[in-house]
């Protein structure tokens, strides 16, 4: 009967028997472990996870930093373009209206 059930189970769900056997083996091994070791391992696992999370945050910050640096570099270009435009226009206006006395700021 047992052999028949086993045969049927293998047919309906191949691999199930192997999985059950594996679970039994894991339980047997777990029973041999020292609870203190398990607790320490668990604590280390949490510490590692926290470190990974911090690392991910750092990577995200660095990526944002790189974007920000590129934005600032582009701003340099915009500032130079605007400065050139404003100075050229002002010079043209000054040229049209005569020289400016810088000390008194008068034309």
């Amino acid at each position: 009967m047992r052999a028949l059930v086993g045969k049927l189970a293998r047919k309906l769900a191949p691999g199930t028997m192997e999985s059950l056997a594996y679970v039994r083996e894991v339980r047997q091994r777990a029973a041999l472990l020292d609870p203190a070791d398990v607790a320490q391992l668990h604590a280390e696992l949490i510490a590692v996870r926290e470190r990974v999370e911090r690392l991910e945050e750092t990577v995200a910050r660095l990526e944002d930093l790189e974007l920000s640096v590129n934005e600032h570099r582009r701003d340099v270009l915009r500032v130079a373009e605007l400065t050139d435009l404003v100075l050229t226009r002002l010079r043209a206006v000054e040229g049209a209206s005569g020289t400016v006395d810088r000390a008194t700021n008068k034309h």
């Binding site: 600032h72 340099v76 270009l77 915009r78 050139d84 435009l85 050229t88 226009r89």
Partner: protein, 504 residues
């Protein structure tokens, strides 16, 4: 030879060749003429084959029927033949020609070019132009030196490189910040313009000076400004290296074809920074590979204003004006009977400008291409059309135009332009709209809104842009966008829409 229409929508198969460890690159021949070289680093491997994308310069310049022969570098063994049929009814032999009928080559950027090597007179004139430009730079107060291909040729054997197309001059600026470096370059541009030099700006520090003779482009010489940031010498688009300052003192002399030029005290560190290793050995397949950390800095600080301008300039050497008639966006714009002037951004050879002017509109037609604006000017003679050559990628030119334009309220036409502008620079077109459309002007947008079968990164005619991006940019500039309509232009899926100022 008459004008040759480029295969606008043709899909060119890539070069597929058997891969082998000995393969260092390919040399491609049309007949017995060497027209293109490319290294393996410009290719990729797929199913055991090494694949090179078809360069856009070839698709524009090939005509006739025949085979291109592909030879292996370095031993020159024939490894393939590439059949070409672009005769369109003619049985002419296969040639690679420019729009003006000169034998062309494909340069290191994949574009069609004419090397000066074939014309000794032209070579001499290019050297003369380089000398005269160096004198002008000295007059401005700079200390120029011969650089890039010209320096390489002079140092190697006192001759021009075999595929040399232009002259190259560099200088070390006394500026200590990128912004000051650019301001100096802008002043230099005006100084040269006052002395009759025609220039084209490629970046905040890179100017191209065009030399024209009897109305025809004869040669160009590039001027590259560089500066020291602490110990680093930075000279876009390639050099960022710790070169000792004394090596870059322009106290050396080199001789090129018997003409003496100012050069660097020690050219080797500069050549090594520009060409990396192996610069002493000639390599026709050489391609620039800028280190990413250098490219990020140079692109961020100084921009890149080409925006496919070189492609369009070559393209308009072939394009037939008036082939397609007015665009869907122009026809839609013409339905509003406002009588407002129209600013046609990216006018090409003027199909829309002619159409709108014939509808009674005053048109300001703008394009970055010299050939396109020249053609538009010829076609619109006698019509109320002002043609302006302006680069939409360069914010300085855009701002200048806005300040100078005597327009209170205009309709803006921007058809098949936004998709070929670099991301951030798309706002430049909308900036013109924001300042010159007034409160009632309409902005008529036409875009290719989805990829077509023939998409290739090298050909901006096949590029597309999503409607959502246009909507977002429009909102950012204070416009409402409405009424998307789909249509076809040749092989392209076109979407047009209208933008108006958002009411407060």
């Amino acid at each position: 030879m008459g004008r040759h229409a480029p295969a606008v929508d043709r899909i060119w198969a890539p070069f597929r060749l058997p891969d082998s460890p000995e393969l260092e690159g390919i040399d491609v021949y049309v007949g017995d003429r060497h027209v293109w070289s490319s290294p393996v680093s410009a290719s990729y491997v797929e199913n055991g084959e090494r694949i090179w994308g078809f360069p856009i310069g070839m698709s524009l310049g090939l005509r006739g029927t025949g085979e291109m022969i592909v030879r292996r570098r370095p031993d020159g063994a024939e490894i393939g033949r590439y059949p070409v049929d672009c005769a369109r009814g003619s049985s002419d032999e296969l040639v690679l020609r420019t729009g003006r009928g000169a034998d062309g080559i494909v340069n290191k950027w994949g574009n069609l070019a004419v090397p000066v090597q074939r014309d000794p007179e032209m070579q001499q004139r290019m050297l003369d132009h380089t000398s005269s430009l160096m004198e002008a730079l000295k007059e401005f107060g700079l200390r120029p030196f011969l650089m890039a291909g010209m320096l390489l040729g002079a140092v190697r054997d006192g001759d021009l490189l075999p595929h040399e197309e232009d002259g190259d001059i560099g200088y070390v600026s006394s500026a200590t910040t990128p912004a000051d470096m650019m301001l100096e370059s802008f002043r230099l541009e005006r100084f040269l313009a006052e002395r009759g030099f025609e220039s084209l700006r490629h970046s905040g520090t890179h100017l191209q000076i065009d030399f024209v003779r009897e109305g025809r482009h004869e040669a160009n010489v590039d001027v590259f400004g560089g500066f020291y940031l602490d110990d680093w010498f930075i000279q876009p688009f390639q050099v960022r290296a710790r070169i000792p300052r004394e090596a870059l003192e322009p106290t050396g002399r080199v001789v090129l074809r018997g003409v003496e030029f100012d050069s660097l005290a020690d050219p080797e560190p500069w050549l090594e920074a520009n060409y990396v290793t192996g610069w002493k050995v000639p390599d026709p397949a050489f391609r620039f590979v800028t280190a990413p950390e250098s490219a990020r800095r140079m692109l961020g600080w100084f921009g890149a204003f080409n925006g496919q301008r070189e492609f369009w300039e070559i393209y308009y050497g072939y394009a037939e004006a008036g082939r397609g008639g007015p665009s869907a966006a122009a026809k839609r714009l013409a339905r509003n009977r406002s009588g407002r002037p129209v600013i046609d951004l990216g006018c090409g050879t003027g199909d829309d400008a002619v159409f709108l002017a014939q509808q009674g509109r005053r048109v300001i037609a703008i394009d970055a291409s010299k050939r396109a604006t020249n053609t538009t000017r010829e076609r619109t003679e006698g019509l109320d059309v002002e043609v302006i050559r302006m680069n939409l990628v360069e914010r300085r030119q855009v701002l200048d135009f806005i300040v100078d334009a005597q327009i209170d309220e205009a309709d803006i036409l921007v058809h098949r332009v936004l998709e070929s502008l670099p991301g951030e620079e798309r706002d430049n077109a909308l900036l013109i709209a924001r300042h010159l459309a007034g409160s009632r002007g309409e902005v008529h947008v036409g875009i290719v809104d989805r990829p077509d079968e023939g998409f290739t990164g090298a050909d901006p005619r096949t590029w597309w842009i999503e409607r959502a991006e246009i909507e977002n940019r429009a909102r950012g500039m204070g416009f409402e966008l409405y009424g998307w309509r789909a249509s076809r232009e040749g092989a392209r899926n076109i979407a047009t829409a209208v933008m108006t100022r958002r009411q407060a």
